[in-house]
């Protein structure tokens, strides 16, 4: 039968996939994939600082990822450089500063590969509690923020004009992203977190007729990817984090195959959209 560590990995991974689904939908809708990457990369700086100052790992990753997103907002408002240039600067410098700090600390030995690509098979009971506790918190927050977040995704000024608070929703959304990155780091690793956000959501798009179904489907597809990836990694002895991403990619590629008749059943022939 399955080993105990494997069950723990499965439970933790599915917990992450459940949260990553709806959050990943917003990352796609708001075109924030690179932004998510930047926040994730800054997690390594969080790891380095937690070792340097003997802080809790998850808290310090959360704080650094939030700080980087606030810094980005500030730099965007100054408007000197385009957003993608700013993201490129922040993303790689946070990652590099983290690596440099780690190199200076000759007295600590850390498993860098474990942080970069995840080590889901080392998940403990306490990790599972954090994943599911944090995950339930994030899902409740998303349900509460759903309307202002969705409305401001479509048009922030429309949301503001009709009495919603798009700025506040956006801030909370970034905090939720930071939280999920801090929680998910151990499962898929810093370099692969955004793929767990984006790939299941992108897969769900084709089968969804409303934002809500897309969010739920993305969660389920993510859970299937986690299970598939873990079984594959056990079977072929491949690294678990990348295996999960490969499984998610396989589902995405499957979704592109012309099986269903969804597209033809649309009331209008698609002419590429007028926007």
């Amino acid at each position: 039968m399955l080993d105990d560590f494997f069950i723990r990995a499965l439970v933790a991974g599915i917990g992450i996939a459940m949260v990553a689904g709806p959050l990943g939908c917003f990352v796609i809708w708001r075109r924030m994939a690179y932004f998510g990457d930047t926040m994730a990369h800054s997690a390594l700086l969080g790891v380095a600082l937690s070792l340097l100052m003997d802080l809790n790992l998850m808290v310090s990753v959360f704080v650094v990822a939030s700080a980087v997103s606030v810094l980005l907002l500030f730099l965007q408002k100054r408007g000197a450089l385009s957003t993608d240039a700013l993201l490129g600067i922040l993303s790689h410098s946070a990652l590099s500063i983290g690596l440099v700090i780690v190199a200076f600390m000759t007295w600590v030995r850390i498993d860098l590969v474990g942080f970069l690509f995840g080590d889901i098979l080392a998940v403990s009971r306490a990790d599972i509690d954090i994943v599911w506790g944090g995950g339930i918190l994030v899902v409740f927050a998303l349900v509460y923020l759903w309307r202002p977040l969705l409305a401001s995704t479509v048009n922030p000024e429309l949301a503001e004009a009709e009495g919603l608070k798009p700025e506040r929703a956006r801030l909370f959304f970034m905090l939720l992203m930071a939280l999920v990155i801090a929680i998910a780091m151990k499962i898929v690793g810093i370099l692969l977190i955004t793929s767990l956000l984006i790939i299941p959501a992108a897969t769900a798009r084709r089968f969804s007729s409303s934002p809500e179904t897309m969010a739920v489907l993305a969660s389920l597809i993510g859970a299937v990817a986690v299970a598939g990836g873990l079984f594959g990694s056990l079977h072929w002895d491949t690294p678990s984090g990348p295996s999960i991403v490969v499984a998610a990619l396989a589902l995405f590629v499957l979704s592109l195959l012309p099986v269903g008749r969804r597209i033809e059943s649309a009331p209008h022939s698609s002419h590429g959209g007028h926007h």
Binding site: I28, W29, R31, R147, L150, A151, T153, V154, N155, E157, L158, A159, E160, A161, E162, G163, L164, A202, R205, S208, S209, S210, P211, T213, M214, A266, P267, H268, S270, G273, H274, H275
Partner: protein
Amino acid sequence: MLNFRSPETTTLVSLANAGVCRNGKWLVRGVDFSISRGEIVTLIGPNGSGKTTTAKTAIGVLKPDEGHVERVAGLRVGYVPQKLAVDWTLPLTVERLMTLTGPLKRREIDEALAATGMLHMAKAEVQHLSGGEFQRALLARAIARKPDLLVLDEPVQGVDFSGEIALYELIKQIRNRTGCGILLISHDLHIVMAETDTVVCLNGHVCCRGTPQVVSQSPEYLKLFGRRAAGALAVYSHHHDHTHLPDGRVLHADGSITESCFPDDGHHHGEAGNIHDHEPDCGCGHHTRLQGYDGAEKRDA
């Protein structure tokens, strides 16, 4: 929508000397106007003249950097923005679009969609709509929430001539049935909706204001627009005492040129003294667009 409301004459929004400044540049300045329940105010002006900025200031999306904006407490706004692009990755049907900013009853959704002629498209994804259908869906969304103030930023963009007339008819019906105030931004400098109570012409400030002349009274326009259009459209004659030159300076009626055209610069005289028509070129860098409608008669007749 579609409920009868008593025709109270409450002022919904009033702007007093409002101005918005960005990066040291005034986008718009010295704007005065108000909208009451049941009133239609149309903002016109060339591109970059501050129409959208003014509308956003009126509904509180932008804060004025000078002057005051007062809104009646609990004002419910329905907003149709000028640009709205729904990303392809977001699955959004017309029906789901309706409840974007607040919950609605099934009946309210259907009534609004029926009023805009979009009921048969309820299940369609918004990305598949044509320009005119999308505008009507946005209008349906805005009126379904029974707003006190409806703000329409160029609602007839991407809509053909007869569609434009139909939309104006619809806006008129909405005003008559619900008694809401309407702030309309027009893409056209000379042709406005006939029901407009006040036209405010902007070019960084209020250039002139007035009421439109109904087309149907003039046989030439009737010939040009066709009979159906005559009821929906009206002509607005500008009364400017100055012209905005391409380099941003201002040529005044007395022949002098200044850097700006604020009322305290000594070039604006009493309103009554200087009113004269500039047709067909009315100043403000505007050119008459009437010739653009030459084809309309054939299509509409």
